[in-house]
């Protein structure tokens, strides 16, 4: 994504939003100008920034935990067809379960604080990263493995010099794909038993206080968080996978 194109897209969306708001003319759809005012006020005088940071922390923490656990597991499965044959059926049983339904169960076991919310997002990201990294490692060309083995590499050196660097793009792709899901689940997780986080903030303003401009300010903050994560992942990719950008 280029910066200029991103700004242009934002401008188009704001104009469409404005036109729609004027056309509908109901207080449940305020104009972007009203929302911008609310965003400024809620950030400078209210608690929006605290909610934003609480949510950002939960998403980033669950992404980190997911990568740290799923990437090595995916590597092991990807380079060993035997282990993969044993474990993959389990993955395919568990993968399609909508993890959101487990929110009450996870909270029962882990309490109502951050760990429960992080684990719920982790449950979803874990499988996405696991499957992508596994497939990437399994798809490595046999010629590559053979020639590195002929240079003296055993199992440990193959991990270090081949499987690990080969899985980096898969990890970043999986992360990028999971930003949207992570934020959607974050919202659900923050509806329960918390007073901090954008999910709580949006629900409170929309359904209890009927402060619609503030509710939309919360939604805009969620969107900005997603953008921030996308840009972060893009920057990481440019740094960690420079060969993908030089053709």
């Amino acid at each position: 994504m280029r910066r200029r194109e991103t700004l242009y897209a934002l401008l188009v969306l704001l104009i469409l939003w404005y036109l729609l708001a004027v056309l509908v003319n109901r207080n449940i759809l305020p104009t972007p100008i009203a929302v911008a005012e609310a965003l400024w006020k809620e950030t400078t005088q209210g608690q929006l920034m605290a909610h934003f940071l609480a949510s950002l922390w939960r998403v980033v923490a669950s992404m980190l935990v997911s990568v740290l656990l799923a990437a090595p597991a995916g590597l092991v499965l990807g380079q060993s067809p035997r282990i993969n044959r044993l474990v993959s059926p389990m993955i395919y049983w568990l993968y399609p379960i909508p993890k959101v339904v487990l929110v009450p169960v996870v909270m029962l076991f882990l309490g109502i604080r951050d760990p429960a919310k992080i684990v719920i997002i982790f449950l979803i990201l874990f499988f996405q990263i696991l499957v992508l990294v596994r497939d990437q490692a399994a798809a490595l060309r046999p010629e590559l493995i053979l020639s590195v083995r002929s240079l003296g590499a055993g199992r440990r050196a193959l991990f270090r010099f081949v499987y690990l660097p080969a899985s980096l793009p898969a990890i970043l792709t999986a992360l990028r794909q999971s930003v949207g899901t992570a934020i959607a689940v974050l919202y659900v997780a923050e509806l329960f038993a918390t007073q901090l986080g954008l999910g709580y903030y949006i629900y409170l303003n929309g359904s209890t206080l009927y402060n619609y401009p503030a509710m939309y300010a919360g939604i805009v903050a969620l969107s900005m968080m997603g953008m921030l994560l996308y840009f972060g992942i893009d920057a990481l990719e440019k740094r960690l996978c420079p060969w993908m950008f030089r053709k």
Partner: protein, 225 residues
């Protein structure tokens, strides 16, 4: 010694090479290299494949030094790496010997097929192998690049003094790079016919009548049923 193994697809020539490399094992019998049975890849054996042998995420310089990195990773244990050390400054001299110096910071995806095979050659020869195995190393290249790299292979063999085994399905390549040419028929092969090459390594080797005679003999043998 310089061997070329010639045969149709599926005759088992790549299997033969992988047996020599210690990457596959015979179901019966034993393979000996330098008097020792092959039970795992020997550190002194180099292997160059047709394509896809380079790490796409590593620069040319990093690819050329990969073998050194693998050896440093294990230390000179005699199993993954021979006991003697190799000077890391060799990377630069190998890069320039193979004309890769100006491409050292590029990635394999940015280079031509010929340059990629030069990288594979540098990466293998920097480890000073006494046996170089090549599996159709130039099959994916255009004709001028291919002839160029065949000449380079002969020169490097003279400089480095290793035994080479090249597997190919091209008659001219076998006749040019093989001091002895082993011709295999359709699998299974119990015996192979060996042709010795009287003009091997001579200047303008491809022009001489003896070279064309050898090619004709090899072709006749291949077409035999």
């Amino acid at each position: 010694m310089a061997w070329a193994v010639l045969g149709p697809s599926g005759c088992g020539k790549t299997t033969l090479l992988y047996l020599l490399a210690g990457l596959q094992f015979p179901s019966r019998g034993k393979v000996f290299v330098d008097g020792q049975p092959v039970t795992r890849p020997r550190p002194q054996t180099g292997l160059i494949l047709q394509e896809y042998g380079l790490l796409p995420w590593a620069t040319i310089r990093q690819n050329v030094s990969l073998g050194l990195q693998v050896r440093a990773f294990y230390g000179p244990d005699g199993r993954h790496a021979p006991a003697q050390q190799i000077d890391p400054t060799d990377v630069e001299s190998w890069l320039s010997r193979l004309g890769l110096a100006e491409h050292a910071e590029k990635y394999p995806g940015q280079l031509s097929g010929g340059q990629r095979q030069r990288t594979a050659i540098a990466r293998t020869l920097i480890l000073q192998p006494d046996l170089l195995l090549m599996d159709e190393p130039f099959a994916a290249l255009d004709a001028p690049t291919r002839l160029d790299l065949e000449d380079l292979t002969l020169q490097l063999r003279l400089e480095q003094r290793f035994t080479s085994v090249i597997v190919t399905h091209t008659i001219e390549e076998a006749a040019y790079l093989g001091q002895s040419v082993l011709v295999l028929g359709a699998a299974p092969n119990h015996t192979g016919k060996i042709f010795s090459n009287s003009v091997f390594g001579q200047p303008n080797g491809r022009e001489s009548p003896a070279f064309r005679e050898l090619c004709a003999a090899l072709r006749a043998k291949l077409e035999e049923k």
